[in-house]
């Protein structure tokens, strides 16, 4: 009995899985405990909410126990069928099946795409409560946040696609060159084929389905791999997509590193990954083997520059909403750090403190409106950032934490050193360092000396500063006098540059991201001018030079024998 193989270490934290956590703490695993565990597991996690790690868990057990232990548990047996380990072979056969569907041409039809998008809206409407509960379970995400930033945005993406799809699918007319006259040309959007979407845990619903909407709208077959770090949402997505969408073309594979690796070994026609740069590199290197194009939605340290001439109340509110009102800082476009002038910093800090009390009360750890940290790994990562010697003394507000509930209060730090950990990795949590400079323009050099962020924010009333900021700072997206909301604008592409990612999506850009733009040129079969064909003569060179120079007059001159010298 080789129980040591159990992957308990990646068991996610949540209240109902305490027995499992306890087992990890005990370290050793023995038969009676496992029997207990099975009992607890069954009691604590309903079949609907089984998540991949626990599935694998019981599979391991089933392989090493007598069958009588499981026979008495019909639910378990049923689950076990589903949880056969997803390996390279399963990935290959899944792809084969999807390729069959794609080859049939079904997913290319306008009707199929529309039906799937409509089904997705129905799926969201029917299951709003379940979605909110899953998000509550994974992240303690406030219902309001779930509604606005996960459910509504996903639905909005569906509706937008439904409204625009016909228009998007229309071939785009293109001009043709004089060299190819007479002809007509167009650019046809065709689906890539089978796409893989690997999503993230911080907005586990939105970041999973938003790209799926684009992939379906463009007529692809899709495999979605939700993040194992938000297991409740992951398994909910698996169930819902199977129930509501065409499962011959749209599938969910749950799992962690092993499953993702198995998926990445396959040949996909496009991969969209949302997450961090480290895994982004792995994804791209895997894609390179098959020459698969990738979209990498990564993160980075998104700076907020605050000028001293701003409306303090509005600015502080918008910064605070972007930082702590979006999953408590666990968002890829959340403000990471602030740069402001030495003189203005105290005012800004006061403004932020006031607004924080307004938002989350005197004791933010008790607020229902603040998400918790996703798991204990991330909690200790953030704690480490705060506890670094040169940083711990810089806290000017907040700093409270509760490890058992994985809560960290909104925390502001002033003048942390440039070489501290907190200034050298994406924070992705409720800590907000403020860097001070003499003149606000000095902020540009700080931002430019770092890798390009996903978003850059500026608060100012100065048009001049705004112009310089927009021209000089490179970032995926840019927002003046607010934070985060550019994400909601479907007419703007969302995506990074440099370290913050490759490619973009949202709205029409999602459709384009999953479409190959096929150039199509129609020619007639009228005879050609002999200039085109060998044998080549000097006269032919003159005519060709003229045509290619784009000079129609020159072409005519050359044709009638003028232009003995080089035509200009």
């Amino acid at each position: 009995m080789d129980i040591s193989l159990i992957h308990i270490n990646i068991m996610p934290y949540h209240a109902s899985s305490l027995p499992l956590v306890k087992l990890v703490n005990n370290g050793k695993v023995c038969a009676p405990r496992i029997r207990n565990l099975l009992g607890d597991r069954e009691a604590s996690i309903t079949p609907k909410q089984t998540h991949p790690t626990s599935l694998r868990f019981s599979w391991r057990i089933s392989s090493s126990f007598s069958s009588s232990a499981t026979e008495s548990r019909p639910i378990m047996e049923d689950e076990m069928k589903k949880m056969e380990r997803f390996d390279s072979d399963s990935a290959a056969s899944l792809l084969k099946e999807l390729r069959g569907t794609f080859a049939s041409g079904k997913t290319k039809s306008y009707e199929w795409r529309v039906q799937q998008l409509k089904n997705m809206i129905k799926m969201i409407d029917d299951n709003e409560r379940a979605i909110m509960e899953a998000l509550q379970q994974d992240l303690a995400k406030p219902r309001f946040e779930s509604f606005v930033s996960e459910i509504s945005l996903t639905k909005a993406a569906c509706n937008h696609a439904l409204k625009e799809l016909k228009h998007w699918m229309k071939p785009e007319k293109a001009k043709t060159a004089i060299t190819t006259f007479p002809s007509s040309a167009e650019i046809v959007s065709e689906p890539f084929g089978i796409v893989l979407i690997i999503s993230a845990w911080n907005y586990p619903f939105l970041l999973s389905l938003d790209p799926v909407v684009g992939a379906i709208a463009a007529g692809n077959s899709v495999v979605l791999k939700p993040s194992e770090i938000s297991p409740a949402t992951s398994s909910l997505l698996a169930k819902l997509l199977e129930d509501y969408l065409d499962s011959s073309a749209v599938r969910v594979v749950e799992g962690a590193v092993a499953e993702t690796t198995a998926l990445l070994e396959q040949k996909w026609d496009k991969i969209l990954y949302t997450g961090n740069g480290k895994v982004g590199r792995i994804v791209m290197a895997a894609a390179a083997k098959h020459l698969t194009p990738v979209i990498l939605e990564l993160g980075g340290k998104s700076p907020v520059v605050v000028d001293s001439n701003v409306n303090l109340k509005v600015s502080a509110r918008r910064i605070a909403a972007g930082k702590w009102g979006c999953n408590n800082g666990q968002a890829c476009i959340a403000p990471d750090y602030i740069i402001t002038t030495k003189a203005y910093a105290p005012t800004l800090i006061d403004g932020l403190k006031n607004i924080l009390e307004e938002f989350f009360g005197k004791d933010p750890l008790e607020s229902k409106d603040l998400s918790r940290i996703v798991n204990s790994n991330h909690f200790s990562r953030l704690a480490k950032l705060l506890d670094e010697d040169k940083v711990s003394g810089k806290i000017v507000h907040g700093g409270q934490r509760d490890e058992t509930r994985l809560m960290i209060a909104p925390t502001i730090l002033l003048d942390v050193p440039e070489d501290s950990l907190i200034m050298n990795e994406e924070i992705f949590g409720p800590l907000l360092p403020i860097i001070t400079v003499d003149k606000v323009e000095d902020s540009f050099d700080i931002i430019k000396s770092r890798s390009k962020p996903l978003a850059a924010y500026l608060f100012t009333s100065s048009k001049k500063l705004e112009k310089e900021f927009v021209e000089n700072i490179s970032a995926g997206g840019m927002l003046i006098n607010d934070t985060v909301v550019h994400l909601t604008n479907p007419s703007l592409p969302f995506g990074g540059v440099g370290e913050s990612g490759i490619g973009s999506y949202h709205g029409k850009f999602s459709f384009d991201a999953f479409s190959h733009k096929k150039a199509v040129l129609y020619r007639s079969l009228y005879g050609d001018a002999p200039v085109r064909y060998p044998p080549y003569t000097p006269g032919k060179l003159r005519i060709l030079r003229a045509i290619l120079d784009g000079s129609i007059i020159g072409a005519i001159l050359a044709l009638i024998g003028f232009g003995k010298k080089k035509l200009e």
């Binding site: 701003v310 705004e466 030079r545």
Partner: protein, 461 residues
């Protein structure tokens, strides 16, 4: 010149500093560089013919047609989507069109305001050293540099961090480039090749057929003697038409090159010994050589290969599994032409699919049931000349696109910029959140999702 002689680190540092200084971003700089590039091509036309001839034995007309890139001036700017240069870009060009495949991407890189390093292919050495010699004379040497060298130089270059890599060449090297780029999260454009098929539907009038076949012949042998990524690789045709097709192809060859094609200077020679041997080996397989119905003569000394037609070579032979990139033209016969759809779609996606047909049903099938970088009906390679059409592959044939404004876009990051003021903010955007706020929002959502989101975020009054 080795990488050490070139002083890669130092030069790269200079490129980066130039880019950081903002010089390359100005419209004036871009225009001046494009004009200089144009001058470069005009002033050195004779020399371009010469070096291309030296490397490939290309005829000047062919060289001029294929090697003279056209400038473009495309600087869109909207308030909300701001095109910004990516930074310092690396361009690997290819030997078959050694000048244009280096300068075309460079035009895109300059138009978009980047600093660039070009590594021309070492397989066309005369062209490579020509570029290394003249580019510094014409262009801003602080922002645009050329490095010469072979695979070791390429490998060294790939260790560095670039903001974009543009590569033209084979899928094998394309994979290496992309894996290396992954380490630095560098976006890539890969212009690869593949076997570009011609579907020849013979339901055409005899004069139309003649034009079609002439174009096919030109698309095979007139484009660098088959050594072109958009050249014809093989023809799919109905069995019963094969004899006529062969006759007409022969006629075109005669017309173009005379009876002794080997001696003709209008024909491009094979680029180097390595490729000559590779091609020669393709027809050494007896099953393949038996299928030769025309040509097949080679001149080892001068590395010429005669225009060669093969009828139904075995499909599993290398000539039908690898990109030919040379003057062999296999004809594959089918019972009926609709089978061509299945034939093409069961193979790796080509860079271009050519179809000669007037039948609307077949056109529709081609468009909807096959996938390729581009499709051209009733002609060969001309799509390459249209600046309004993107040029690029899919799957095995490449990743990303360029030409015209697409070149500009290939070297540009479209920065989303949204501007706000301090005036309007809706209270319900902010915590603490209550059921009232939730219901209020929910109610509003029922009417207009985006409008309400905007309203809710205070973006809309």
């Amino acid at each position: 010149m080795t990488v050490a002689e070139f002083g890669l680190g130092e030069r790269l540092g200079e490129l980066r500093r130039t880019f950081q200084s903002g010089t390359t971003r100005s419209l004036a700089w871009r225009k001046a560089q494009l004009q200089a590039l144009l001058n470069l091509v005009r002033d050195n036309e004779e020399q371009i013919f010469q070096v291309v001839h030296e490397d490939l034995g290309k005829h000047p007309v062919e060289a001029f047609r294929d090697e003279s890139p056209l400038p473009l001036a495309f600087f869109p700017a909207t308030a909300e989507l701001l095109p910004e240069p990516l930074g310092v870009v690396l361009i690997f060009s290819c030997w078959n069109f050694p000048i244009s495949l280096a300068l075309e991407p460079l035009i895109g890189a300059i138009s978009a305001g980047n600093a660039a390093l070009i590594k021309p292919s070492e397989m066309a050495p005369a062209c490579s050293s020509f570029l290394a010699r003249v580019i510094p004379r014409y262009l801003d040497n602080k922002a645009i540099k050329v490095i010469e060298g072979g695979p070791e130089t390429g490998a060294k270059l790939l260790e560095e961090k670039w903001d974009k890599i543009f590569f033209t060449g084979s899928p094998r090297v394309g994979r290496i480039i992309m894996s290396a780029a992954a380490k630095h999260l560098t976006p890539v454009t890969l212009e690869l090749g593949g076997k570009c098929p011609v579907i020849l539907d013979t339901r055409l009038s005899s004069s139309e057929l003649e034009v079609a076949i002439k174009r096919i012949a030109w698309g095979k042998w007139g484009l660098c003697n088959g050594q072109s990524c958009v050249g014809v690789d093989y023809i799919l045709v109905e069995e019963k038409f094969a004899p006529t097709l062969i006759d007409l192809l022969k006629k075109s060859i005669d017309q173009f090159y005379g009876r002794k094609a080997k001696d003709f200077k209008d024909l491009t020679r094979i680029v180097n010994r390595h490729h000559f041997e590779r091609l020669h080996n393709l027809i050494k397989d007896p099953a393949v050589s038996d299928s030769i119905v025309h040509g097949g003569q080679v001149d080892k000394e001068r590395m010429f290969i005669e225009p060669t037609i093969l009828l139904d070579p075995p499909l599993e032979a290398e000539i039908m599994t690898e990109e030919i990139f040379g003057p062999f033209l296999p004809i594959i016969t089918l019972k009926n032409i609709e089978e061509s759809i299945e034939f093409v779609s069961s193979r790796p996606k080509p860079l271009v699919l050519y179809a000669f047909t007037k039948d609307e049903t077949l056109k529709r099938l081609v468009l909807s049931r096959t996938s390729s970088g581009s499709v051209t009906f009733n002609d060969i390679a001309v799509q390459f000349m249209s600046d309004d059409l993107p040029f690029g592959g899919i799957g095995q044939s490449g990743l990303g696109k360029y030409h015209g404004k697409f070149s500009f876009e290939a070297f540009t990051h479209e920065k989303a910029v949204l501007r706000r003021n301090f005036i309007f903010d809706l209270e319900s955007r902010y915590p603490p959140w209550s059921d009232f706020k939730l219901n209020f929002i929910r109610l509003l959502y029922k009417y207009d999702y985006f409008g309400i989101i905007l309203l809710f975020l205070g973006l809309k009054g």
